[in-house]
């Protein structure tokens, strides 16, 4: 099995804002587009024009309904990719060392040339964040666009993951979550960013910002927004009020 690094110098990751994610899938396709070109083999598609199309996507968006005890049901869009865990079970389970976590930035990667496609890592990952590429027979996963973020052939402003660069709703943020003063750490602090399934003990790097409370209205009276006080109940009264108001100006 494969060791995790005893210490990472940085822990890069994503902060995903569930309050603003509209579920548009822009990140899904940008990820597919970039990684299909940047990786040694494309992210393959099986039966792309047929009855059961199925392809490799390193990032997917799910939609869930939440039905509170009172009030209207809500929809939460939930983008999900590898969370680059500190205690990544996908790494420790790997029999060949193909799965590994980088000491320098905490990114979890797969070395495809050593991957035997056994699928143990996918079984071990509690998030379902790994994708077996059926054409290549190897496991693929989010690399945090390691081939963009350090890529000196790209303009500096583009050295961020493709999903972050494209997100129209500004719902995706990238940075060093081990630095408490980084913009992403401050965002997590300010918005109560959460770990996904903390009970799994994986200590994920990626954080989710919860949706702000919706539907504050709870029926009869809202102290913050009292009913509008009437100035008139019929047309003549309103016109009189208009004349009086304008005369005061």
């Amino acid at each position: 099995m494969t060791d995790l690094p005893s210490h990472t110098e940085r822990q890069l990751g994503l902060v995903i804002d569930l309050d603003t994610c509209v579920g548009c899938h822009a990140c899904v396709v940008a990820c597919k587009g970039w990684n299909t070109q940047s990786q040694p083999s494309p992210l393959s598609d099986q039966d792309p024009r047929g009855a059961a199309p199925s392809g490799t996507f390193l990032n997917r968006v799910h939609a869930y309904e939440v039905t509170p005890q009172t009030g209207a049901a809500q929809v939460v869009h939930f983008p999900k990719s590898c969370l680059h865990c500190a205690d990544a079970p996908c790494v420790t389970v790997c029999p060949t060392g193909a799965s590994f976590k980088r000491a320098e930035d905490g990114i979890v990667l797969v070395n495809e040339s050593e991957c035997i496609g056994c699928g143990l890592c996918a079984w071990a990952c509690p998030y379902g964040a790994r994708e077996m590429d059926m054409a290549e027979g190897v496991m693929k996963k989010c690399t945090l666009c390691v081939d963009r973020i350090y890529n000196e052939t790209l303009p500096e402003q583009d050295r961020e993951p493709a999903c972050v660069r494209t997100c129209p709703a500004g719902a995706r943020h990238f940075g060093d979550l081990s630095d408490p003063e980084s913009a992403v750490s401050l965002l997590v602090e300010a918005r109560g960013g959460m770990d996904l399934m903390p009970e799994q003990g994986t200590r994920p790097a990626n954080k989710y910002l919860p949706p702000r409370p919706r539907d504050s209205w709870e029926g009869e009276v809202d102290l913050l927004a009292p009913w509008l006080e009437p100035v008139a109940e019929e047309p003549r009264g309103l016109l009189g009020w208009i004349d009086r108001t304008l005369a005061r100006l």
Binding site: V29, Q37, L109
Partner: protein, 935 residues
């Protein structure tokens, strides 16, 4: 094991995926974002957003990023086709372009010389309408429009007639300053990326978003407050808000007096021939009472201070201000929250809450920009006071037969708050504002061998502008601008086929369509339309004798055409996103853009616009041929050299002036397209700071618009709360004036063409319908899919390959549905079967599905077993193109009676649980694909 050397080397962090980036404009939906197309060895490999583009500022949606797969799509047509089997069979032979164009010219030339109206030219999701409209005009046929009539003409027309511009393309919420945004019936596109960017800005500032929508998907999912309204009742809700705000005096009296026609005097003597029309001065100018003198004065008189209330008797006839009419109408208890609650589907308290929320944001938030400006009356203002309530509305409001007046009601609400073109509210994008008077009227008199006198589409101001004959019969094949749809300013594509087949008002010879899937998802009564397209007379002649179609892909419509002119994809062509048409302007800049061939097509296809110019030259159309020679080499040549008016061409940037390059007006510049390419495909002309708000009334804006060629003269205009054009039609319906509607239409016209916004139930809600069909059925557009194009895209169809019917929990339980069940969906028109899915976050009597996922077998290069074809749901089968026959048996279109907008969302259905069938019904024989299908 420890991290190894090999692992350290694993990623190539310096990978170069491309060797060149070409910047052009997206066409994966109607947003027109800027894109960076990465090429490697000349092949497009990756598309990302252009950071310097005004529309998307670097971001890009799923559709845009999947554009590559549109170029490599197996559904792409390969060469011109001539039909060889029966129409609808899909049997074609490939022919040369010369043969195709000579065939088309051979069909069209005799028509032009004898009866040009027998060509119906409709251009679907066309982004080159200033060219296609001009082509129709030069051909001489009035029978031209794009797809606006079945899209959102209610929104566009209500905006132009009320404000001088509408939501989306002509205006936008003030994302920088709004504190409250109301979204009415907005699904995922129109506008796609700009709305997402904007919502993100609002959220970052802590501003609030309220969504009124029957379905809580997409933008509604992230709204702070969601009001699950009953479809078709938005107008009633808005007028109830108006009632509450008037009652509470929470209205902007200053704004109403200065910038709306609330102080204009209206004839209110029912016996007067001018009843309901404005009191006008000797020069024809509507009059107000000048508060300085107490006497009548022209609305736009220098320094005039219009008075909101008051009466004036003149020649024995009494006149009141529009404000008094508003008070009289909307203070009525019929608009009280209690009175409307059941119909709207919201508790009265919720409506009151919303009114209070709006009033609080509008009047208790201090917003004032320190920008001095001068209004059209010459009055100087030291600041620009704001009103931070923004509104945006789209298809959900537009696609009802009461949509025009509902949009008018929203504009009334905006104006009462002073939330039009004020900081924080709704902002126009140049060339808007542009009131109807500044547009042309429709032109429709077909003369053999001659062009029309002007563009076929325009803005009627009264019955005298209608396209009807002396007997009141329609002169256009779609009956746009007739008494059936007087303000059908985008035409009525959805009625062309039915009317042509019925020879009502007359038969046509050639139907020429571009990029419009009328044999499937773009038509009502889909099965009936397929029959109409193949219907023959007793001698075996097709009732529509000839059909020419241009599309890039093997859509369902291809099989029903006789001649196919295959188009390129958007990466292989020139286009201009023009200020003459549907530009990409932002409130602070007039902007236009181009597409250019970032790759060459690998097959025998040609860009439609170049083909159209070629065809025009072969036909000898004025402006396209001179001395038997083509005027333009291709569309790029046209973009560069065509001048619509002296100095005004398709692109406003990099024109030639006396001292070199200049913006706006100028003579053609042969290097203009190169300049656009060098500039990233787009060019903006900034609006001066002092002209950026209060545009309709701001002298600095009006002068700037004239200077750069957007207007020929300043056109300040008041918000038309009382619409005199509408009243003119209503007056005719009351039997007044020279041109009167046919008797059977008078009652309906009198009821709907009210000068103040009104709500009436959807027209197909006839007695008994609600009892038998208790559910409303609508569609929402998925964010990762646009119209029918998306399903051929091998990435996007993995995201949206299925579109079950979403059913609310109470109905799910009442029907005893289980996962895996299907339902039979029955409307007054027909029935379909659909896979059922449960969803709680939607209004209680609403079912819905994603738009345009369902496909016909054999189309779009998909396998016949594709889920789009075997389980896809197409609500179009349930929607008739005609209203139920009235007492007089007249067949009126299922459309808004004012604008002719297709009333897609008036659909009502009932459900029954059924066991899962093998495939969805109705089923149709597979089309023979003109492109290879997967095995």
């Amino acid at each position: 094991m420890a991290q190894t050397e090999r692992q350290l080397d694993t990623p190539d962090t310096q990978v170069q995926i491309s060797d060149e980036i070409r910047k052009t404009t997206c066409y994966m939906c109607a947003c027109r974002c800027g894109i960076d197309v990465h090429l490697k060895d000349g092949v497009p490999v990756y598309i990302e957003g252009n950071r310097d583009h005004p529309v998307n500022r670097g971001v890009l949606c799923a559709k845009g990023a999947a554009g590559l797969k549109q170029v490599t799509s197996h559904a792409r047509l390969r060469a011109p086709l001539r039909r060889v089997g029966p129409r609808g069979s899909g049997e074609f032979e490939e022919i040369s372009w010369d043969e195709a164009l000579e065939t088309a010219a051979g069909w069209l030339k005799p028509l032009r010389e004898s009866a040009p109206e027998r060509l119906a030219f409709f251009t679907g999701r066309d982004q080159s309408q200033s060219l296609t409209s001009w082509w129709a005009q030069q051909f001489g046929t009035p029978n031209y429009a794009a797809h606006g009539g079945f899209c959102s003409v209610n929104m566009a027309a209500a905006g132009i007639y009320t404000l001088g511009g509408s939501f989306w393309e002509f205006g936008t919420p003030d994302w920088e300053h709004a504190e409250l945004l109301l979204l009415f019936g907005v699904a995922e596109d129109h506008d796609s990326n700009p709305i997402k960017i904007g919502l993100s800005k609002l959220k970052a500032r802590g501003a609030r978003v309220v969504s009124l929508n029957p379905v809580r998907s997409g933008y509604s999912a992230i709204a702070d407050e969601w009001l699950g309204i009953t479809p078709g009742s938005d107008g009633l809700l808005v007028l109830s808000l108006v009632h509450e705000l008037l009652r509470a005096g929470r209205i902007d009296l200053d704004f109403l007096a200065q910038f709306t026609n609330a102080p204009v005097l209206v004839d209110c003597d029912p016996r007067s021939p001018e009843y309901g029309l404005f009191l006008r001065g000797d020069d024809g100018s509507p009059l107000v009472i000048d508060a300085r003198t107490g006497r009548p004065a022209p609305w736009d008189g220098e320094r005039v201070e219009p008075k909101l209330t008051g009466h004036l008797r003149r020649a024995g006839i009494s006149h009141r201000t529009v404000m008094e009419m508003i008070a009289a109408q909307y203070m009525d208890r019929a608009y009280a929250p209690e009175a409307v609650a059941a119909r709207v589907g919201l508790p009265p308290e919720r409506i009151r809450w919303l009114a209070a929320e709006i009033a609080r944001a509008a009047f208790e938030t201090k917003l004032e920009l320190d920008r001095p400006w001068t209004d059209f009356r010459g009055r100087q203002h030291s600041t620009m006071p704001g009103r931070p309530v923004a509104m945006h509305a789209m298809r959900g409001v537009s696609a009802h037969s009461n949509g025009f007046q509902t949009c008018r009601a929203i504009h009334l609400l905006q104006a009462l708050l002073g939330a039009v073109e004020t900081p924080g509210s709704f902002r126009f994008k140049p060339p808007y504002p542009k009131p109807p008077e500044a547009h042309c009227r429709p032109h429709f008199r077909a003369v053999p061998g001659q062009p029309l006198e002007g563009p076929p589409l325009g803005y009627p101001l009264g019955p005298e502008d209608l396209a009807v004959d002396a007997a009141g019969a329609p002169l256009r094949i779609d009956k746009a601008f007739s008494w059936e749809a007087p303000l059908a300013v985008h035409g009525m594509l959805h009625m062309v086929i039915a009317n042509a087949v019925a020879a009502d008002p007359y038969p046509i010879d050639t139907l020429f369509l571009y990029m419009s899937n009328m044999a499937w998802n773009s038509t009502m009564n889909t099965a009936g339309t397929m029959e109409m397209l193949t219907a023959q007379d007793e001698e075996g002649n097709y009732l529509i004798p000839r059909i020419i179609y241009s599309d890039a892909y093997a859509s369902e419509m291809v099989a029903y055409a006789d001649l196919i002119l295959p188009d390129t994809t958007y990466l292989e062509r020139h286009d201009c996103i023009s200020l003459l048409d549907r530009p990409i302007s932002e409130p602070d800049a007039a902007a236009d853009a181009i597409r250019w061939p970032v790759v060459e097509p690998d097959r025998d296809v040609r860009p439609f616009q170049s083909v159209l110019l070629d065809l025009g030259a072969r036909l000898g159309l004025p402006g396209m041929a001179e001395d038997g020679q083509p005027v333009y080499r291709d569309y790029a040549d046209y973009i560069t050299n065509h001048e619509r008016r002296p100095g005004v061409g398709p692109l406003a940037g990099f024109r030639m002036g006396p001292h070199g390059l200049q913006d706006g007006r100028g003579t053609p510049n042969e290097a203009q397209l190169d300049s656009y390419i060098a500039a990233g495909g787009t060019h903006g002309i900034p609006v001066p700071l002092g002209a950026a708000y209060y545009k309709p009334w701001n002298r600095a804006y009006q002068d700037w618009a004239v200077e750069i060629g957007l207007l020929d003269a300043p056109a300040p205009a008041l918000v038309q709360l009382w619409s005199e054009p509408l009243r003119r039609f209503q007056r005719a319906a009351e039997g007044q004036g020279e041109r009167l509607p046919p008797e059977p239409l008078r009652e309906r016209l009198a009821a709907v063409m009210t000068p103040l916004p009104v709500w009436y139930p959807p027209l197909s809600d006839t007695p008994g319908v609600e009892e038998n069909y208790p559910l409303h059925a609508i569609t929402q557009r998925p964010m990762a899919m646009y119209h029918s194009w998306g399903s051929q895209n091998v990435w996007l169809r993995q995201i949206h390959g299925m579109n079950p019917l979403y059913i609310p929990g109470a109905w799910w339980r009442a029907l005893g549905l289980q996962d895996g069940d299907w339902v039979r969906v029955t409307s007054p028109h027909g029935e379909i079967t659909a896979p059922a899915a449960r969803m709680e976050a939607q209004s209680e009597n609403v079912v819905w599905t994603w738009n345009a996922i369902g496909k016909r077998k054999g189309a779009w290069g998909l396998a016949p077993e594709a889920p789009e074809a075997t389980k896809g749901v197409l609500l179009n089968h349930l929607i008739p193109e005609h209203l139920p026959s009235g007492e007089n048996g007249a067949s009126l279109s299922n459309s808004d009676p004012i604008t002719g907008q297709a009333a897609w969302f008036d659909l009502r259905v009932r459900l029954e649980r059924i066991a899962a069938p093998r495939e969805a019904s109705p089923g149709f024989p597979p089309l023979r694909s003109p492109v290879p299908r997967p095995d």
